[in-house]
Amino acid sequence: MNGMEDRHPYYRALTRNMILIIVLVSFTPLVLISGLIGYSFETAYREKVVAHLKELVRKHQQNIDGFLDEKMSYIQVLADSYTFEELSDEAFLTKKLAVLQQAYDGVFVDLGVVDDRGVQIAYTGNFKLANADYSGAEWFRAARTREHFISDVFLGLRRQPHFIITVKRNTGGREWLLRATIDFMAFNSLVGSIRMGETGGAFIINRNGEFQTDPRIDPAPNKDYFLKLFEDARLEGFPSSRPSGVEKAAFPSRNRVRNVLAGNFDHQGRNCVYVATLLKDGEWLFAYEQDTREAFPELYRSRRIAIAIFLLGGLAIVFVAVLLSRRMVQHIRKADHEKESMTEKMVEAGRLASVGELAAGIAHEINNPVAIMVEEAGWIEDLLDDEEFRNSENLDEFKRALQQINNQGIRCKEITHKLLSFARRTDPKPEEFQLNHLLEELVGISEQRSKTRNVKVEKNLAPDLPPICASPSEMQQVFLNLLNNAFDAMPPSGGTIEVTSRLDGEAIVVDIVDNGHGMPKAILPKIFDPFFTTKPVGKGTGLGLSICYGLVEKLGGKITVNSALGMGTTFHVHIPVCQRQEFLSPSSSETSNNGRSGGDAVTRGNVGRR
């Protein structure tokens, strides 16, 4: 029965809808709030990290520019302090280099003086570059046009990466250049020391896309991107750290702080964040790049945690939704079922009530003519007492016949009375009455049924039982139900049902014993559960015994059951007796109308009411 209900499409749809609603209502705020907070957090955190990186880059920009400016100014001081002749003296130059190297540990590699033809007329350093001809060198052409010049990194004649600083001076109409070589490694350490995590690193790139430092990370694939960025920055008039034409004294320029670009780009499935700025009058681009995942570790960690919480929470929500909905629908299903059986019972009660009305009407209709018959018979009886009939030979026969009419009239009355007393019992008000009378009545009602079913109903009722306080209609329901069950348990061949009543201490025990098919032990604990039935679908509501149980419990009694498969079933109903002293005698408790059957009915009217 339950299994069938579970598959009922209505309840399935109900369950589904409830799950959907619960999940939707729970998830919507969850998604909205986590989205909102996540977005705010991400934005704030990104800004913080990027600001930090910008600061880092800005500081390095200052460092690098400061480094270059410092070296440049030293060379300028050197060029201004000494004459061309002095500097052309290699011994003097060597001395100066020694001073420089002492002051700046290994930054200056060599010094040289180059005349206007590009020939290095003086040189000091580890390379044999005296009289080297630089007239074809790119840096030479660039250096000749400016007062001071810092070259890109190049290999040059020595075949080692380095860059040079030149200062142009004019002596006697002839231009000459004081040239210093800066050790690449010393410069490189300025930039290369910016290194964070696995993927974070900085590098300098020139306008041709050549690295000016040794990129410890490999940004080569992104070079085009940075070149474009470089171009864009220049085209947009992005102010360089040192506007051209302004001398070194302008340091530190205030706009530098704002000169930092930040953004991110996708590269080979990796998302990278970059921070970049221009160096050396916009000739170099100083860039820092890092994998987003590494740059914003907190973000990714909290995102992972949030996703984990979301997934677990979502799972819990779905689980609870399913569980709650199932349980709720189970309850609804049960309530529906109860309502249905309640409606059935109501219909049944209504039907019984109308049967009662009908019976009352019929009783009236039958009793009236019967009353006339009896009255007329009584009239004849009265007349027979007259003198003229005294000696009639058939007088006794007349009297016998009249008595018969009287008896049959009384029988009619009894029949209608039985009918009424049965149909009338819808009142749940408790009253004191004799349980035996009710049992006798019920057995009497079952007689017709027992004949057709070949079932023998034996009653074995203890005499002089004290009355009980209960609603006769409810007791009737209890015992009728148990009797019906006993009948239903009978095999087609028939059997015996025994109804016994006895006094056991303060309770009357009624045993209803059948020798029907019995019940397996496994189901015995369940038979009083609502909706438990062994009858085929539609035949039993499964409510009968549970209602009996409830009614008897209400009185402070109990129902127990013994059963053996194939042997039969015994129900023991314990009902407490009335505690009130005046009802201990059965005859005094008898109200004029309840439950009497048989000969009692004739004298019923005499008992009277108190």
Binding site: A360, I366, A371, V374, E375, G378, K413, L420
Partner: protein
Amino acid sequence: MKAAGFKVLLVDDEEEFVRALAERLEIRSFHCEVALCGEDALRMIRENPPDVIVLDLKMPGIGGLEVLRRVKERSPHIQVVILTGHGSERDREAGERLGAFRQLQKPVDIDELIRTMNEAYRQG
């Protein structure tokens, strides 16, 4: 049964029944009057109040319960015995509440009826 000789009013719409009953009671020295409907009964009670009324409940026009109510209203000392085919439980309760002395069911044994009437008369 010893005749009591008090005045009895029989109220019933079943004429055959009530006439036969009246005759039998007359034989037993009761002074009986018969009313076949509630209106007649009320009129007769007004004109010549009886000691005991034997009243049917189901009658056309004014029913037994209404007659009972009015009698008890005006002259509560008159005892009323209800004799009916078989009223419903509701009627039974209503009769009791309105002060009927007793309710008997048709067909009734004449001796039982007389016994009841005597009791009622003594009560009144």
